[in-house]
């Protein structure tokens, strides 16, 4: 795990994103931010707040409500020498520009035989738990991870949020930084310095000896809670924060499972067809002889995200569901 080298301070996830973006705007003259209400309002989630005053209106651009044009702006500007930071307010709205993402952004370099370089960073906000109902709560990262040509990172902590934003914006490829709503207020140590969290490297956030929980985004924190509970059942669970789902740090995951012999994958996205299927399939393929139990999975049930608080509470994956799934799989 990367360590803060100096000035350890505890700041929020949302403030960490701001710091990451600020670092890039300072560092890269050709970087700018474009999206709905990113400049004047500093994003409805607040993570660009203050940057307009700091960098001026030639670096942050409020756009019309036109996701296709916003993503197209990123593609065209990146292909011609800029380093756009594109904001898609809610991840649900990425559906509006999946053509630009899939057929242009992800493929242009390949189709052009390597002649185009597309350093586009896309920030977008996923996740439920805030009673925002079916169209403002989705986790659609599995779509993106299935697309050759893009990278997809999902920070769970303030430290990773800052470091991954910086790494994404320095990367010469399209990188989606999939943020999480319920994480916005999470606090953690974040150095003031500018640093990268390398894309494609997972992180062992809790070491353990006989169970591996592979967690995506905010589920990392639920997994840690679950691990604490599992300790009472005699399980010493290791928790891995995948951080990047494309590329995926398969090696680290397999190393852990070879040690622990059992694994569970958890994400907030709908379980069926989620990235957990890919991870579980890889684990059983590459660590088959090491497995003492089937790779378990926890994800959202097969329904849209309901509005009603009681239903949404039932819907959301959490520590209790992880523990229940572990117990079921291990029959303990």
């Amino acid at each position: 795990m990367e360590k803060a080298k100096q000035q350890p301070r505890s700041i929020t996830y949302v403030a960490a994103i701001t710091e990451g973006v600020r670092a890039i705007l300072n560092e890269q003259d050709n970087a700018f931010v474009a999206g709905e209400d990113v400049a004047g309002a500093g994003s409805v989630f607040g993570y660009y707040r203050g940057l307009l005053a700091e960098f001026g209106e030639n670096r942050l651009f409020d756009t019309p409500i036109s996701e296709k044009a916003i993503m197209g702006l990123g593609v065209g500007a990146a292909a011609t020498g800029c380093r756009p930071i594109i904001d898609i307010m809610f991840m649900d709205f990425i559906a509006e520009c999946m053509d630009e993402v899939t057929n242009q952004l992800a493929k242009m370099r390949y189709m052009f035989g390597g002649a185009a370089t597309l350093p586009v960073t896309v920030l977008t906000m996923s996740g439920g738990g805030m009673n925002m109902a079916a169209q403002h709560s989705q986790c659609l990262e599995a779509w993106l991870a299935h697309l050759p040509g893009v990278k997809v990172v999902m920070p769970a902590t303030p430290y990773d949020a800052k470091g991954l934003v910086i790494a994404a914006a320095r990367d010469n490829n399209p990188v989606f930084v999939v943020l999480n709503k319920l994480s916005l207020g999470i606090r953690g140590e974040v150095p003031e310095e500018v640093y990268e969290v390398p894309i494609g490297k997972a992180n062992v956030v809790r070491e353990g000896s006989n169970y591996t929980i592979v967690a995506v985004s905010r589920m990392v924190h639920e997994a840690v809670k679950a691990a604490d509970e599992l300790a009472g059942l005699g399980l010493d669970a290791e928790v891995i924060d995948v951080r990047s789902i494309q590329p995926l740090d398969t090696a680290l995951i397999i190393k852990s499972v070879e040690k622990t012999h059992r694994a569970l994958v958890v994400h907030e996205a709908v379980r069926f067809g989620g990235i957990g299927g890919e991870i579980a399939a890889q684990i059983q393929e590459l660590a088959f002889d090491h497995l003492d139990a089937p790779v378990a999975r926890v994800g959202a049930p097969f329904s849209p995200v309901p509005f009603s608080p009681v239903l949404e509470a039932t819907y959301m994956p959490n520590a209790a569901k992880i523990v229940a799934e572990v117990r079921k799989t291990l029959e303990i």
Partner: protein, 407 residues
């Protein structure tokens, strides 16, 4: 640039140049009837006998004005179609009723949200009441509408009942969507309300599809989509408008231009002043109307809806309006993107208050009636909120129901 209230309806979409290569059928926007101010004159059409829907129903709540079937539409239509006579008292009272119901509901709902009693986010319709009301006055339950994230007003004007609406906002099982939709997806199929929509620009393609269906099935029903100035920049609006015009569908595109998309002023999201300017590009009439004047909206909507029912195709109606509260909730996030002066200028044009003043003037309404009217409305609201609060939440077992039709 301060946003100023507008005064009069205008018809856009016509052009000065003779355009030889252009089919005349797709040009020459209809003349807007919205210019005629009918207030004050208010000649009564013959068939005004219809019972006042503002009367309390058995359950003690004011009967929802839109709850009429196609058969009872004639009075409203007469009111619209005659150029020389104004609308009937019944129409005037219904327009008022719709506006007042929206205003009161929204203020109550906004308060409940700010107090943390309603979960999630509410986008309030206060300020824009004249738009939904003037348009819905022409529609029956069989006509469809699609709404926006700011959808309560549309549903109320279409006949939505307070108890089921509050229950939905609270996330209760007795809500219109069993608590699964909430404010942003509130809907009622039997009222022809095809949903509020959390996706900006989500409505137009769906309304266009409903209009297609109306025509395909051989009915004379129309579909109306409401959308904002901000939404007019979404590709979905463009595609739906083009297709509706191509197929001459009974679809009315109603742009509620309140000058802002979230915290971004219109001048910072499009290089035009009138969204109605886009109509010509689809070969349909584009009309600008004062959205703070319910009679102007009512007249312009009547024209567009009649045209659609006649089979002459869609129209784009732009209502200049304003939201009195913030983008979300009442107080919002505390951003200062609108000036106090601007807000004041628009509040002076308050559609509900000015219409009430006119009704009092005309003698269609008296101070006393108004007082008792609001008293009854307050009681109805209180009862509805009580109903919603007392209603149970859905059972967790209902989570996986309604994903698929099993029939």
């Amino acid at each position: 640039m301060a946003r100023q209230p507008v005064r009069r309806a205008r018809t856009n979409g016509t052009k000065s140049e003779a355009k030889s290569a252009t089919r005349s059928a797709t040009k020459g926007a209809t003349k807007s009837t919205a210019e005629s101010t009918t207030r004050g004159t208010a000649k009564r059409p013959a068939n005004t006998a219809a019972k006042s829907p503002a009367k309390s129903s058995k359950k003690g709540r004011a009967r929802s004005p839109a709850r009429r079937t196609a058969k009872s539409r004639s009075a409203a239509e007469t009111g619209t179609r005659s150029a020389t006579s104004g609308p009937s008292d019944r129409v005037l009272q219904e327009l008022h009723l719709r506006m007042a119901r929206i205003r009161k509901f929204e203020e109550a709902a906004g308060g409940l949200m700010e107090d943390g009693k309603i979960p999630g986010a509410l986008h309030l319709y206060v300020g824009q009441e004249a738009v939904a009301s003037g348009i819905m006055q022409h529609l029956s339950d069989e006509d469809q509408i699609t709404s926006t994230h700011r959808g309560h007003g549309h549903l109320i004007a279409k006949g939505g009942a307070f108890p089921e609406m509050f229950a939905e906002l609270f996330g209760k099982a007795s809500g219109y969507c069993k608590g699964k939709g909430g404010s942003m997806h509130i809907s009622n199929m039997s009222l022809g309300m095809l949903g509020a929509n959390g996706i900006v620009g989500g409505g137009p393609p769906i309304a266009m599809g409903a209009a297609f269906s109306n025509k395909f099935r051989g009915t004379d029903r129309v579909a109306v989509c409401f959308f904002g100035d901000g939404a007019s920049n979404e590709g979905s609006f463009h595609e739906a408008a083009n297709m509706a015009s191509l197929y001459k569908l009974p679809c009315i595109f109603v742009c509620e231009n309140n000058g802002y998309g979230e915290y971004t002023a219109q001048e910072n999201h499009q290089a035009i002043r009138d969204v109605a300017d886009r109509a010509a590009g689809y070969g349909m009439p584009g009309v600008v109307v004062d959205g703070m004047d319910v009679m102007a909206v009512y007249e312009a909507a009547g024209e567009a809806i009649d045209r659609a029912r006649r089979g002459d195709g869609p129209s784009l109606l732009e209502a200049k309006t304003y939201r009195f509260f913030d983008h979300v909730g009442m107080r919002g996030m505390g951003l200062t993107y609108r000036s106090d002066e601007e807000l004041e200028a628009w509040r002076r044009k308050d559609a509900l208050l000015s219409f009430e003043a006119m009704l009092l003037d005309m003698g269609v309404m008296t101070k006393r009636k108004l007082t008792s009217f609001y008293k009854k409305l307050d009681e109805e609201l209180a009862a509805a909120i009580q109903f919603a609060e007392a209603s149970p939440f859905p059972d967790p077992s209902e989570l996986l129901e309604d994903v698929y039709s099993v029939a």
